[in-house]
Amino acid sequence: MSVAPTRARAEQSPDDATPPIVWRPRRASAAFSILIVDAVAILIFSALSNFVFLTPQSLSDIALDGSESVLLCVGVAFLLGAGELDISIGANVILSSVVGGKAMGAIDDPLFGSLVGALVCAGSGALVGAFNAAIVTRLRVTSFIATLASLGIVTGVAYVITNGYNLSSVPLSLQSDFGVAKLAGVLPYPALIAVVVALVASFALRRTRFGLHTLALGSSREAALRAGVKVRARLTTLFVLAGACAGVCGFIDLSRYASTNLSGHQTDALAAIAGAVIGGTSLFGGRISVWGAVFGALLAVILQDGLVVVGLAAFYQLIAVGIVLIVAVSLREFAGNSDEPTPVFERIRVLIRGGGKARSDKGGRLPGMRAS
């Protein structure tokens, strides 16, 4: 097969009907703009706090605090990309930590108990994910309703098991050697897990059939079906993986606090969705930005920790994240086509010039796209 002529032809003779398109990598830009927002937020808080916020200690605290939300954001981003939702993951974190805590309490050896506990946490989370998947794929209940129901069920089960009291049957060595320990004194181990998961997820999204099918499911379920994508199997895998992410979060929770946190995680699911969407993942499927989800999750943590450092109540963080969500999504809308992320400055330029058109049809070309 001779290839060179093909390429030459493609470059030299554009289609008569439309000018050729200069096209940029689509996922990188959204993640990059949120990374810049993260950096700016860190710099502002640093300036306001006499640079206390910029110390290695403070940054590694952000990494530790962010590890759970990064895991949840990445898991949820994949589900959103496939056109599904999971609002039960916060409850899933709680139940997984409860089940894992029970397992740890049943084993005397601290190391063995911790290892078994980690597997039980992840397994329990995956099981809840499989439960969600079964409701969605077998009973044909939409994922919003299915996971709303399991949010209640899972929370209830966690309370029934514990009778409403937090478990403290966690080996203390787990906390000292893992939960609050750092690799080389810099990177907290829980954050290391989050980084590894994000790397694997990013690779899987771009380079594997699984990533391609996930995007296809969210982009056009009909097209995926007709192309012979195994829709049920793929959806089940996605729910199970998101559940497993929640399970790992449950384990991190146990290891950080040496206890369960029954009253926490109420807003985790919505925060994860917010982080993923801020990072450029589409709420309606077809587009996932793994690193956008990572930086989107970190933005919430930076705001929370930063507000504390500058002496404001952490409650303002919820307000700030809400505003960021609105701004990020509206900028994307103003840029003309929410299907393709454009860099922040491009969105702002369009916003200021007033050239923003609300959602053009899908065939519309981005303002940022130049015809050469």
Partner: protein, 273 residues
């Protein structure tokens, strides 16, 4: 794509690519198909026309295996039957281009062409599902070029293409995986004049490659230019057949509207009530 050899056969003596015989289909009280029969040869373009509700789309769905007929059967030239009740019969050599395109707008041209048929990296465990994007890009470019479709890059998301380009990608996808026949439902319906012309040329190229083509269309003007045969359906069966080159528009319309009074003889299938 091997069956190109069939293209060299003389017209009129074409090998049958697909044939439907005596197809009946009833939806509740509505008899959508009443013994419709139709065959398409390799390298032949057959246009299926008829008024709304004449049964064109149902017949096409039966032929590609999406709809199970109540009676009758669809066979491929080699005697194999099209198994019904599936999403498509692509693995039996029948490619379909649906009216609503069925492309994933967020995915690139390349990803859409290969969706469901991805090439995986050799020498890596298959369960990892590692995509061989380089090989797919090379093959996709070659396939597009063979049909005379030129796109700036196969990496562009389909949502950024024009309507004509999207239709071209949908056709390229169907052709890439079809070995016998490509069925198209209203391929030019939503397109402007210029883009419709491009798509019509593309369809001609598909037939030149040796594949059978059957298309449903209301675009009589373009149809008469490219179709080898025009099959008119009325009330669930085939009412008339004309050779594409010599037929006039009024002849087709008369047959479509059931011009019994004008004297067009039904040549196939059950006469209307």
């Amino acid at each position: 794509m091997e069956p190109t050899a069939a293209a060299s056969m003389t017209p009129g003596a074409r090998q049958t690519a697909i044939s439907a015989v005596g197809i009946r289909k009833r939806y509740g009280h509505v008899e959508a198909l009443r013994g419709a029969s139709l065959s398409v040869g390799f390298g032949e373009i057959v246009a299926l026309v008829g008024d709304n509700g004449a049964g064109k789309s149902t017949l096409m769905k039966v032929m590609c295996g999406v709809v199970t007929p109540d009676d009758g059967e669809v066979t491929l030239g080699d005697g194999a039957r099209v198994e019904a009740g599936r999403f498509n019969a692509t693995d039996q050599g029948v490619g379909v281009v649906y009216q609503d395109l069925a492309l994933a707008p967020h995915l690139s041209v390349l990803e859409n062409i290969y969706l469901g048929y991805e090439l995986l990296q050799p020498r890596r465990p298959r369960w990892l599902g590692l995509l061989d994007r380089r090989a797919m890009a090379l093959e996709a470019r070659a396939a597009l070029q063979q049909l005379g479709i030129s796109l700036p890059t196969v990496e562009v998301p389909v949502s950024l293409l024009s309507g004509g380009q999207r239709q071209a990608v949908a056709i390229a996808r169907a052709v890439k995986w079809a070995r016998r026949v490509v069925l198209l439902d209203e391929p030019t319906a939503s397109l402007g004049t210029r883009q419709a012309d491009i798509v019509v040329n593309l369809i001609r190229n598909v037939a030149r490659q040796g594949l059978g083509v059957m298309l449903i269309s209301h675009d009589m003007d373009r149809l008469t230019r490219i179709a080898d045969r025009i099959v008119v359906m009325r009330r669930g069966s085939v009412a008339a057949e004309f050779p594409g080159a010599s037929v006039t528009l009024s002849q087709i319309v008369e047959a479509m509207l059931g011009g019994g009074s004008v004297g067009v003889a039904p040549i196939n299938g059950a006469p209307p009530r």
